[in-house]
């Protein structure tokens, strides 16, 4: 399998008053080309910071270290700011969380299209660019004539989300990264956006990397799933395995915590305990304080990854404990 993105030992830290907050702790992850990969975890587990680590979009108090973030054969971690700028959106488009606030309030949607295009390519006329934008806006079920001439405040949240998704395709990127593309939207809008993304994936064969805490969205869209907990990736597997034969105790608990539409709502079991403080993470396996299958070794040594069936899982349950 070809991997479009290979993250090696990524560490993201924030300098805060209390000290250094390690939100992404030594994460290695490969994203297969042509598929949809989902990164799941509770809010605050470091998912969004992981994205920031890829294209270096951290706030000024954030620091990144890694042994390389490879996009195809380019090491993104080694690029100069200008080289990285050229890759952003042109080859890797990132749609951040709260995309509704991702548009400049004083610019029309059409201006957003044009400025984005001109930042990367020259030569095409304004009409050609806007014609392409119209096509994309139609694809996300928006009326191009109206939308291109609108200011962001004139559009609803769902419309803005779709505008951003259309805008993310304007340069035909090779990888589309979406952070919580359905949060803060009503359920109907959520499902239309998911359908739309699936359609885009089907038609363009675009590789997508989806970050979410919303497991039903994952079940519906993803081919592969990575589970993140307290700054670490704990399990990686295909979507079937994750939902039916997950190996990592946290993954199973997470799936049981989904409110099921079909089953009895009382089956829903929230995970006991609360996520650990990233300022002072637990020793050994970060999940051990909440883990029902805790063993003596768990609070002493962080587990390495083990291959178990189709899963790659970091849990002592599957290691020889000697």
């Amino acid at each position: 399998m070809n991997h479009i993105l290979r993250i090696k030992n990524l560490i993201v830290e924030y300098a805060v008053r209390e000290g250094s907050l390690r939100v992404v702790n030594n994460v290695s992850l490969d994203v297969p080309e042509g598929k949809i990969t989902a990164l799941v975890g509770e809010s605050g587990c470091g998912k969004s910071s992981l994205l920031d680590g890829i294209l270096r979009t951290l706030p000024p108090n954030g620091y990144i270290r890694s042994n390389g973030v490879w996009f195809k054969d380019i090491n993104l971690a080694r690029l100069s700011n200008e080289e990285l700028r050229r890759i952003r959106w042109e080859r890797i488009a990132v749609v951040f969380q709260a995309a509704q606030n991702s548009l400049n309030p004083v610019l029309k949607i059409g201006d957003h299209v044009l400025e984005t295009y001109h930042a990367h390519r020259k030569g095409e006329s304004k009409d050609e660019i806007l014609a392409k934008a119209r096509e994309l806006l139609e694809m996300v079920n928006l009326d191009p004539k109206q939308v291109l001439n609108s200011y962001p405040y004139e559009l609803s949240g769902g419309m803005k989300q779709r505008v951003i998704i259309a805008l993310s395709l304007i340069l035909d990127p090779e990888l589309l990264i979406l952070d919580e593309p359905t949060s803060a939207l009503d359920t109907y809008t959520q499902s239309t956006i998911i359908d739309m993304l699936k359609k885009i994936h089907r038609e363009k064969g675009l590789t997508m990397f989806l970050v979410t805490h919303d497991l039903p969205v994952v079940a519906e869209m993803a081919d592969y799933v990575a589970v993140m907990y307290a700054g670490k990736i704990m399990e990686v597997a295909d979507v079937e395995t994750i939902f039916y034969k997950a190996k990592y105790p946290y993954t199973n608990l997470l799936i049981k915590a989904i409110p099921s539409l079909i089953g009895d709502p009382s089956d829903r079991k929230p995970i006991p305990g609360s996520p650990p403080s990233l300022l002072n993470p637990p020793s050994g396996c970060v999940f051990h304080p909440r883990c029902p299958f805790r063993r003596p070794i768990c609070d002493k040594k962080a587990p390495p990854f083990f291959h178990v069936d189709k899963s790659l899982v970091a849990c002592w349950l599957y290691g020889d404990t000697k």
């Binding site: 008053r17 706030p59 000024p60 108090n61």
Partner: protein, 296 residues
């Protein structure tokens, strides 16, 4: 806002709510020290330092010496003595003006916020008008017309043009407090308006008032000295504004090299005093309204 205070006594309260935070925050401490220095100068100074206003032209424009720490003026009089004696008037006028203005602002702000309706509409309109009219020229004009000579009426003239901004903020504060549960609870308990105003609202806006008191002292200094600088209110000759007026427009101290101390001494004191007030106000603001600084 600060937490509930115990009842250990006023001094202990004062220590915990006022002095300790000031020691902890450098900026407020600097301001506090500067202001305290000037207050000391204004209160004790004139009792300790004699004032001799007899002119002696042979001593004209002397540089600083042991005998005259800041040199002498165009009439051979000691500048240091004038500065010390003038500080009392400068601070009295400023403090009075700030007090008057706070009283007006608190009254109008609370009435406007609490009563609402037509009273609020009228008071808000009045506040807007007072905010639009440029304060300095109108203070100047009124001071000139009334030919004020005493600190009390001068302070009142300043205060009339200083309250509007604070009244507007207090009104907003009262409106937001009105939504809060404890006011609602007090109202349901039938505790009456005076209880709500004096026990619930005033303590809540107190830090705000303290900070504004200090910034108003500072604006009042700028305004009062500015008006005297233009020679409109011929106050005592020791008032810093009058000293500047003399140096600038009357005796030409600014044109001769030896006159520099006479012009610079009051200028320096004014800047230092205002710097102290600004620092204390900003420092207190940091203490009372700590903002989360994520990017430090």
């Amino acid at each position: 806002m600060q937490g509930e205070l115990g009842h250990e006594g006023v001094l202990v309260n004062l220590y915990y709510s006022f002095f300790r935070p000031i020691i902890k925050y450098r900026r407020a401490a600097i301001g506090f020290v500067i202001l305290s220095g000037f207050v000391l100068m204004a209160t004790v100074g004139p009792e300790v330092v004699p004032l001799n206003l007899k002119t002696d032209f042979s001593q004209r424009y002397k540089p600083p010496s042991f005998q005259h720490p800041l040199g002498t003026d165009y009439g051979g009089r000691d500048i240091f003595q004038q500065i010390v004696h003038g500080s009392r008037d400068v601070l009295t006028i400023a403090a009075l003006a700030a007090m008057y203005a706070i009283t007006i602002a608190v009254t109008i702000g609370i009435l406007s916020g609490l009563l609402g309706g037509i009273v609020d509409a009228i008071l808000t309109g009045l506040t807007d008008i007072f905010l639009t009219i440029p304060s300095f020229p109108v203070m100047m004009a009124i001071a000139a017309v009334f030919e004020v000579r005493d600190p009390f009426s001068f302070a009142a003239i300043l205060a009339i043009w200083m309250w509007a901004g604070l009244a507007r903020s207090i009104r907003a504060e009262v409106l937001s407090l009105k939504q809060k549960e404890f006011i609602e609870a007090a109202r349901i308990l039938g505790l009456g308006t005076s209880h709500i105003v004096f026990r619930e609202i005033l303590p809540n806006i107190m830090p705000y008032i303290v900070i504004n008191f200090i910034t108003m002292i500072r604006s009042a200094i700028t305004a009062s000295v500015g008006i005297m600088f233009l020679g409109i209110v011929p106050f005592k000759i020791t008032h810093w504004g009058v000293m500047l007026y003399m140096a600038m427009f009357q005796y030409g101290a600014v044109y001769v090299p030896e006159g520099i101390y006479y012009a610079l001494a009051p200028l320096f004191c004014i800047v230092l005093l205002e710097y102290g007030a600004i620092s204390l106000a900003h420092g207190l603001d940091e203490i009372f309204n700590p903002r989360l600084k994520t990017y430090e």
